[in-house]
């Protein structure tokens, strides 16, 4: 598919534990002018989450085009598309347990995965996600913009929510003519978003400054130069990148 790439990279902590990469990703063509970016992050503590994340991405691929036929390019139309697709996928995901040949063992929680989608029909960008993920945009001058942050609710940052029929979906809809590239990522690359707590003399200190790393410019450039995904993946699994977090990475990249 032109102008799009997706890949996963196994994290050093997963290599250490002897478990497979639990992230999955994909980029689909919904029509000649529209991409759907997909990333899923299998829960580290769930035994079969590598299967769960793969299944979630498969289900998105299976139903996305059908849902897109009824969608309209408007904030409400895009939100309804994402809502309908995620709801359909969540339902099918739940009934996959005990029915899909790869998901005969265990319970739903053993396949726990996040799932984040982004529809890109320039200049429309619509994000819908269950659990943590983040979205970075780049303009033609390589200025980076954090469109969806990796912030999560809860006492600890690594708490998250997983795909199920009752899960909360986080939506963000943008109409932006200035952006020329997007990276949707699981939390494996979140240490490449600088989050600085700054002093506020009135309210105390709060995390208010976010700065995506120039690494995302490099990732977009590598994708645009048709670098084989396996080559990028191998680099992201290497020490240079893994020493910041050591987690699996799942990304989807599109550009125009």
């Amino acid at each position: 598919m032109p102008n799009a790439l997706s890949l996963t990279a196994i994290g050093s902590s997963h290599v250490q534990r002897g478990v497979p990469c639990q992230d999955s990703s994909s980029t689909l063509a919904l029509d000649p002018a529209t991409h759907l970016m997909v990333v899923a992050d299998g829960a580290g503590s769930a035994e079969y989450s590598h299967i769960g994340s793969r299944r979630a991405v498969e289900l998105v691929s299976a139903f996305a085009v059908e849902h897109w036929r009824q969608a309209t390019l408007s904030p409400e139309g895009l939100r309804l598309f994402l809502q309908g697709l995620l709801s359909h996928v969540a339902h099918e995901f739940q009934i996959s347990v005990g029915n899909d040949s790869r998901m005969m063992d265990g319970r739903l929680s053993d396949y726990s995965t996040t799932l984040a989608l982004t529809v890109v029909s320039w200049p429309w960008i619509a994000y819908g996600g269950i659990g943590d993920a983040f979205l970075v945009g780049a303009d033609p001058d390589d200025q980076l913009h954090l469109l969806v942050s990796p912030v999560k609710e809860g006492e600890f940052r690594n708490e998250t929510e997983f795909l199920n029929a009752g899960a909360t979906v986080n939506y963000r809809i943008f109409l932006d003519n200035t952006l020329s590239g997007l990276v949707l990522s699981t939390d494996g690359l979140e240490k490449f978003i600088e989050e600085r707590v700054v002093e506020d003399p009135v309210q105390g200190r709060r995390p208010v400054m976010w700065a995506p790393s120039r690494t995302f410019v490099g990732l977009l450039a590598a994708a645009q130069q048709n670098t084989p995904p396996a080559e990028i993946s191998a680099a992201l699994s290497g020490d240079e990148f893994q020493k910041r977090k050591g987690d699996d990475i799942g990304v989807s990249v599109v550009w125009r």
Partner: protein, 260 residues
């Protein structure tokens, strides 16, 4: 990890990494060390005491292996206490200390002052209490100023004996903190550690490492923090993940401890 040349332009920029004290998220790690009189007994070789081996292991950990753990090197804070007599002493470590707490930013620690021997007893109850309190205080202090915690704090207790006092009250607090997902607790036994008592103190997370050099206890600390990275589940599931990493898929316990 494999070393693969990154495609042109794809780099991790070292100059973008914030100082640990400027990072918005933190990982808290506490290590409680038994410094009772029995630590002056012979260690794995007859010519060296357990304490001498422990000091070597701590130096190696704090100045070397710890810095390979992303969760410590990037935004980790570590506090180490030695317990003996009826006292728990937080160690003065190298580098920058988080204000008003026994925690130090792991990235800056580059040297270690050895522990001195004592002939005291083993007040595990006080140590567990002090560790829980230190974590709670630091969490409150960070939260009050807008910082968040990346993952559940982890506390390790290293001992070569048995508690010299009743630990039941401390265990009530520990179990409550574990259930509330406020802390994960690992106990590591060396020398003459009382396995029966330690299994009561840490039913799902006691590791008897008596037949191994003390250095491996600190390797266990590094390895466990790596394994726990990104996990968010019940304490039982988290402990099982570490135990599983310790034993599964052709990794012997020794291989795991050696970081294979």
């Amino acid at each position: 990890m494999p070393v693969a040349p990154a495609p042109a332009g794809l780099r991790a920029y070292e100059d973008e990494i914030l100082a640990p004290e400027d990072q918005a998220t933190r990982n808290l790690v506490v290590i409680l060390i038994d410094n009772s009189g029995s630590m002056t007994e012979a260690g794995s070789s007859p010519n060296r005491t357990r304490l001498a081996e422990l000091n070597d292991a701590l130096r190696s950990f704090l100045t070397g292996t710890m810095h390979d753990v992303p969760q410590l090197e990037m935004n980790g804070e570590i506090a180490i206490a030695a317990f003996a007599y009826r006292r728990v002493d937080w160690l003065a470590l190298d580098g920058k200390q988080a204000p008003g707490s026994p925690f130090y930013y792991a990235r800056y620690i580059r040297s270690f002052t050895p522990l001195e021997s004592t002939n005291g007893k083993t007040p595990m109850d006080l140590a567990i209490d002090a560790g829980l309190q230190a974590i709670e205080n630091r969490k409150r202090s960070l939260a009050a100023t807008g910082y968040v915690h990346e993952s559940r704090p982890v506390m390790f207790l290293l001992t070569d004996g048995e508690s010299s006092a009743d630990v039941s009250n401390a265990l009530v607090k520990l179990r409550a903190a574990e259930e509330a997902k406020k802390v994960l607790f690992f106990a590591l036994g060396v020398g003459n550690a009382n396995d029966g008592e330690m299994q009561k103190i840490a039913p799902d997370s006691y590791y008897s490492l008596k037949d191994q050099p003390i250095e491996n206890c600190l390797r266990f600390v590094s390895g466990s923090i790596g394994v726990l990275s990104g996990l968010d589940d019940t304490p039982t599931a988290m402990y099982a993940a570490v135990r599983s990493a310790n034993t599964q898929t052709n990794l012997s316990a020794e291989a795991f401890l050696k970081g294979s």
